[in-house]
Amino acid sequence: MKNPEDETKLDTLQRQLTSANRAWFSRLRLFMWLEGWARDRSAVASQLLAMMQDLLDAQRDGASAESFFGQEPKAMAKAILRELPLLPVLTWLRIGGSLVWFSWFAALLLAAGRQPGLPIKGLTMGLLLALTLVGGYAIIKLLSALPYATVKQEKWLWHGSGMVMLFWLIGTVWLLVRQPGSALIIPAPLDLAVIALTFGLSFVIGWRLNRLFRLGTSAIPIVLMLLLWAGAALVQQYLADNGQTLSLTLAWWVVGIGVPLLLLYFGFSVWSIYQSNRLTKHLSRKAKH
């Protein structure tokens, strides 16, 4: 059975639980999802579904989730997760590919326009990749402690996650601005082709992710931002390759294309926020009824 089907079933069955049992199981579900991030998603969902089905039977006989599963849900979840299969190799390759792609994309973006020929710095990309891996892992570990944290611990865990994100952001910006390491220069006009190809492939990846997560129109601001970056990177590199500064004609072209894109970007961002707020209000009203 596919994971989304199990997830939908879990949502449906969870509504049949008493409020205390629902709260107990929600915590377990969240913990298993976060702690089991490296485990096969469908195996985790299938395991949770089997436990939910048994809990419903136990509830019908008057038992609570706590009495049925015992006092140590965290230890139980960890022991179960150890037995579940890891994510498929293809998923690991996709995750790895996305991280490498992000490092390449970010480093390329900030390298464009610095000098004639595009400087590609392996060390910068490697450090960026390492920083993202460490930061991502730290955030997952902190968040996975949330479901069973006390109110005080919860506060610290949120602060901790925020701090990690801040350090990641500072580190990323520092790496992209400083671009440490020796450069491999991609000569003109190949450099422009590399930039265009990078952004073209980013659109393809974004389009596929959009279909996978069904983001719909909420992905439009991201697409617009990519277009803006692509345009800026191409113009900057073109100028650097030709030893030119921005002429008045070119500046008008940049403003003519860039400003509408920027306005569209902000417009769609506001619209997306408005739509998601409307949806949240609608869902909360529906949940109350």
Partner: protein, 113 residues
């Protein structure tokens, strides 16, 4: 000594023996264990064990729709599971006899005094 400590080594064998009777789902298995007197067993012990046995290939599972409630995950023994059960039964027979011999000797000594 707590029942849980004694159970640690033998629960797996008991679970395999119950499942050997026929396909069974988690809650039913728990009730069966409680029925045999293993009242200290909770889901926190049983579900990791079932996951382990399934991972090792001793159990297989399938979802079966139920007219009384939600679909249930039924566990059955695989060939590997039956082999594990036979091995456990042999070991338990020898172990049980050894423990019984020790207890008998102590009882004899007590009665002689």
């Amino acid at each position: 000594m707590k029942q849980t400590q004694l159970l640690r080594g033998v629960l797996e064998g008991c679970v395999l023996a119950i499942i050997a009777k026929g396909p069974i789902y988690g809650y039913e298995l728990m009730q069966a264990l409680h029925g045999y007197g293993f009242t200290s067993i909770a889901g926190g012990t049983l579900y990791p064990l079932l996951a382990k046995l399934e991972h090792q290939g001793a159990l297989s599972s399938r979802s079966v729709a139920s007219p009384e409630g939600p679909t249930r995950k039924y566990f059955s023994l695989t060939t590997q599971g039956f082999e594990n059960l036979t091995a456990f039964q042999t070991q338990w027979a020898a172990f049980g006899a050894q423990v019984a011999a020790v207890m008998e000797a102590i009882d004899d000594e007590k009665s002689r005094r």
